[in-house]
Amino acid sequence: MNLFADAFAWILNPGNWEGRNSIPQFIGEHLWYTVLAMILASAIAIPLGWYIGHTGRGRDIAVAATGAARALPSFGLLFLFVMIGGVANRDSSVMIVLALLAIPPILAGAYAGFEAIDRRVIDAARSMGMTERQIVARVEIPLGLPLLWGGLRNAVLQVVATVVLVGFVRNATLGYPIVQGIQINRFDQMLGASVLIIVLALLLDAIFALLERYATPAGVRAGRNRDHRTSSTRRRAAGGATPASTEKEMSV
């Protein structure tokens, strides 16, 4: 199609690869926002999820809250925050919204990872004389890692798609060429940037898929080869947000 040819022409145009407002700059900014939001969300959601998973305390609240948070309209939320926080603080507002979106899947991955562990293993660890801290560090965290990485993977897809919205409040990220393209009717630029976002999302997804696999303890992998009943259903249940939701948000 002509439109796609134009889009790829925009992407490949050497002029768009240097100077201010170039593609590398947009990609860099896009990744910067994504990484920062992920770090912020992880710093909150991972310890909290582990706490919930280890103690079982606050689980119902967490389930309800993450369910509700997933239904949040990111676009509306962003503008609400920017309005409340003022234009001067719009970067903080953006960060908060992005982190809010990333927290539910990470939180779910963290506590589901702990919950999926055979209770008898933890019971045995405790009866051997491990302290609660040792149980968390030496048993629950390593065995819970695969589901946690699954949660991080869902979160990063959510975030990388939502960072597009930054383009509405700042001349930055791959969202900016889209927003600007809408204003000046440049479809090649809009579509080109969208393609780049999709490529970025796919790349991140692949990296996280690898991390997820790498995080599965060797002994557990060994068990999978023998025993095919292992919990793929749980794995799916833990994540929630699927790559499909990325497309939805990209079309904002």
Binding site: R120, V121, A124, M128, G129, P142, V220, R226
Partner: protein, 274 residues
């Protein structure tokens, strides 16, 4: 010596799992708790290492009240072997065995050397040291579980249906290994089972329990078999049927023994004769 004094356990949901239980468990002997499902065997066992805390009474280990011992410290000096071995799936056999010694600060090298010896002791090929639990058979996993229980050289070894999940042939093999081990090591073993044959085979002292951990009878296997204290015990140990209900039959002047099913069990001879 482990001493239960009027021990009671009332779970928060109102279940009275143990009701006024008193017993002395002698050192260097095997005591077996046997009884049907839900009678409170596991609860009793786990009170010894404070995985369960009694709601009444006192439990003493060598005259020290366990309630005054910090649980983590207590557990690190008591071996515990459970039905599904409870091995850490992400750690190799040798790492599983050395878990507790390393928690208590034994240098890794020493702990590993000792673990390899323990693998010999429980009849595991040293070549399995670097395998993961999922790569072992059920019987092998149980052996690792026993080796792990012995890793800190505890005076007390608690075993909760350790051979419950393996097939009868492997179970018989593991039982013999345990008897041999016990002859060599002389630990204070507290063993839980619902299999009366296993109880009679392994126990120096057998404690038959009814619901609420009430003691139906305790004694050596011989004492219990010779004098069942009640119909419940007689029926539980199967004294009135099968291979325990032996009777003598005269066949052409020779005395043979048949069991409750009428099957030939053997020939009767005077003690001392061949």
């Amino acid at each position: 010596m482990i001493e239960f004094r009027s021990i009671e356990k009332l779970f928060p949901d109102g279940t009275r799992a143990v009701d006024d239980f008193s017993l002395v468990i002698p050192s260097h002997k095997t005591t077996v708790f046997v009884g049907s499902s839900g009678c409170g065997k596991t609860t009793l066992l786990r009170m010894i290492n404070r995985m369960v805390d009694a709601t009444g009474g006192e439990l003493l280990i060598d005259d020290e009240n366990v309630a005054s011992i910090e649980p983590v410290r207590l557990r690190r000096r008591i071996g515990y072997v459970m039905q599904n071995s409870g091995l850490l799936p992400h750690r190799t056999v040798i790492d599983n065995i050395t878990t507790v010694p390393r928690l208590t600060g034994v240098p890794t090298k020493d702990a590993r050397a000792r673990a390899l010896e323990l693998m010999d002791t429980v009849g595991l090929d040293r070549a399995m040291a670097e395998r993961y639990p999922a790569q072992l058979s059920g019987g092998q996993q149980q052996r690792v579980g026993v080796a792990r229980g012995l890793a800190i050289d505890p005076n007390i070894l608690l075993m909760d249906e350790p051979f419950g999940a393996v097939d009868p042939i492997v179970r018989a093999e593991l039982q013999q290994e345990l008897l041999r081990l016990q002859r060599e090591l002389g630990k204070t073993v507290v063993f839980v089972t619902h299999d009366i044959d296993e109880a009679f085979l392994l126990g120096d002292q057998v404690v038959i329990l009814e619901k609420g951990a009430r003691i139906a009878q305790k004694g050596t296997p011989e004492e219990i078999l010779a004098n069942p204290a009640s119909d419940f015990v007689a029926s539980f140990i199967g004294a009135d049927r099968g291979k325990r209900a032996l009777s003598i039959r005269d066949v052409d002047g020779e005395r043979v023994v048949v069991d409750g099913d009428g099957n030939l069990a053997g020939r009767l001879t005077e003690p001392g004769a061949a």
